[in-house]
Amino acid sequence: MIVMLISLENYLKSNPLSPSWEMIVNRGVEKMKQIISIIIILLFANASDNFYYQNDKKTELIPIKNTEKLQKKDSNQTINYYKTEQGQIVGVTQEIIIKVEDKKSLEPLLKKYNLNLKQNLTTKLYVVETNSTQETLEITNSLYAEENVSYAHPNFIKRIDKR
């Protein structure tokens, strides 16, 4: 569609219409471009990652509807549910666990990805919070690729299987 609009624009440049017609057509083309851009942005916004990295290996997550009670009782966050490659059902919230060398290395990452520091687990291990569950996996994978990050994974909710 965009190619068609650009071709039309070029055709109009080489074959000028009367000024009033040209203005009307150009306005239409611009409007169409805006609408298409919005559609493309919306499509990309919904295409979030369905994987994360575990032990340096890309690990797929299959989105599912919640079939088990994995609610985190002290949280109002939206939980997205996935089936792991191991066949287990896990919940993903706004929280990410990240390992860095020290807290100083964490601070620029909080700013860059607009994250809140939620909990210090150890001097190297932190729980950070995104603005929405929808962006958790994508930010997790971006953090994983950062030079100063040892690893990052969602703060998964998992079923504790009594044996």
Partner: protein, 356 residues
């Protein structure tokens, strides 16, 4: 008549060395019940020691126990065992002198009571380790060990799991018993467990015991597959690997876990709480819903390790693991290569030999 035949057959197989299963201690006569133990249900704690009548009545292989008989003078005194489970009935009279710290990860309080009337798991696993020597009920393997109880819940985040392991460290646990797993341990949780097992106890390493699971499948990426933990599967009354017991390259040892017709005698939540049908306060071996599974096997091993640490508090995690590997009975009908196979690990623990 059939009962008579069963008794005769059991006696015959006992005399032949254990119902067809091989054992390193086949030449040692099974130890009979020590009359000095004054716990009314000790006779049916078949997983600890042989009681001739109970063994005959239930068709139990003469070598099915962990051979507890020679170790009565060890009680786990001075050893701190953390139990991570679903709740604990701290009012149980068998736990009167045992609990030194409690923590609930959900409420962040010290109240670790079971969340529903049907729950019993944490009370049952704790009882195997530490039920008091008090003339009532059962014998805990390490009856004078000190219990740190850490209450988890069914749906738990990785950070909460880490929080519980760090609490165990804060309370000074020597051993952590985990009769649970997720089949898919996260990197951060694995790392915290490995760090505790390597650097805890002032560098000697906390001994972390996990049940392998009851799904007759490979342990996969379960917590019990972490090389630094002691992974415990189940044996049955025939002194073979229990059919349900998970297996894999990282399994360490087996301990009795029972089967549907004969469970592991231990504590239940008091009174009408819990699931016991024969005695409200105890899950007996032949209870309708007795405790069966690797959940029972893990605390048996944790209790035995408490006795080992009482005898020698300086044992490192590596030394404990090596002793378990070297001194377990090579039961079953599968070959052991370098003392190991993926179904039996290094064999079934023998507490008498471990404490010799």
């Amino acid at each position: 008549m059939s009962r008579f035949l069963i008794i005769m057959m059991t006696m015959l197989f006992s005399a032949c060395g254990g119902g067809g299963s091989s054992s390193d201690n086949d030449n040692e006569p099974p130890i009979t019940l020590d009359k000095s133990i004054n716990e009314p249900y000790f006779y049916e704690q078949w997983y600890l020691e042989k009681n001739s009548t109970f063994y005959q009545d239930n068709g139990i292989d003469a070598h099915a126990s962990i051979h507890f008989g020679k170790t009565y003078h060890y009680t786990g005194k001075g050893v701190k065992v953390a139990v991570m489970d679903d709740g604990l009935d701290i009012t149980h009279p068998e736990l009167n002198n045992s609990i030194i710290a409690t923590y609930d990860v959900t409420t962040k309080t010290t109240n670790v009571a079971h969340s529903s009337m049907r729950e019993h798991h944490g009370t049952s696993t704790t009882g195997i380790i530490t039920a008091n020597d008090n003339g009532i009920g059962i014998k805990g393997i390490a009856s004078e060990s000190q219990i740190i109880f850490l209450k988890h819940r069914e749906g738990m985040s990785d950070s909460e799991t880490i929080e519980l392991f760090l609490k165990a460290k804060e309370f000074g646990a020597d051993i952590i018993n985990c009769s649970w797993g997720t089949y898919d341990v996260s990197e951060s949780v694995k790392e915290v467990i490995q760090d505790l097992a390597t650097n805890g106890r002032d560098g000697k390493g906390v001994i972390i015991v996990f049940a392998t699971g009851n799904d007759a499948q490979d342990m996969r990426n379960d917590e019990s597959s972490i090389p630094e933990v002691i992974a415990v599967g189940s044996s049955d009354k025939e002194n073979l690997r229990a059919w349900y017991s998970n297996y894999g390259e990282h399994i360490d040892v087996l301990a009795p876990g029972g089967d549907l017709d004969l469970g592991i005698t231990t504590l239940d939540d008091m009174g009408e709480n819990g699931i016991a049908t024969l005695n409200d306060d105890y899950l007996l071996a032949k209870d309708e819903e007795s405790l069966v599974g690797t959940s029972a096997s893990a605390p048996i091993v944790s209790g035995v390790i408490a006795l080992m640490l009482e005898k020698n508090p300086n044992l490192t995690r590596d030394e404990v693991e090596k002793a378990l590997h070297d001194k377990s009975d090579k039961i079953g009908n599968l070959d052991y290569v370098n003392g190991f196979n993926e179904y039996y690990g290094y064999g079934k623990i023998n507490v008498g030999r471990l404490l010799k």
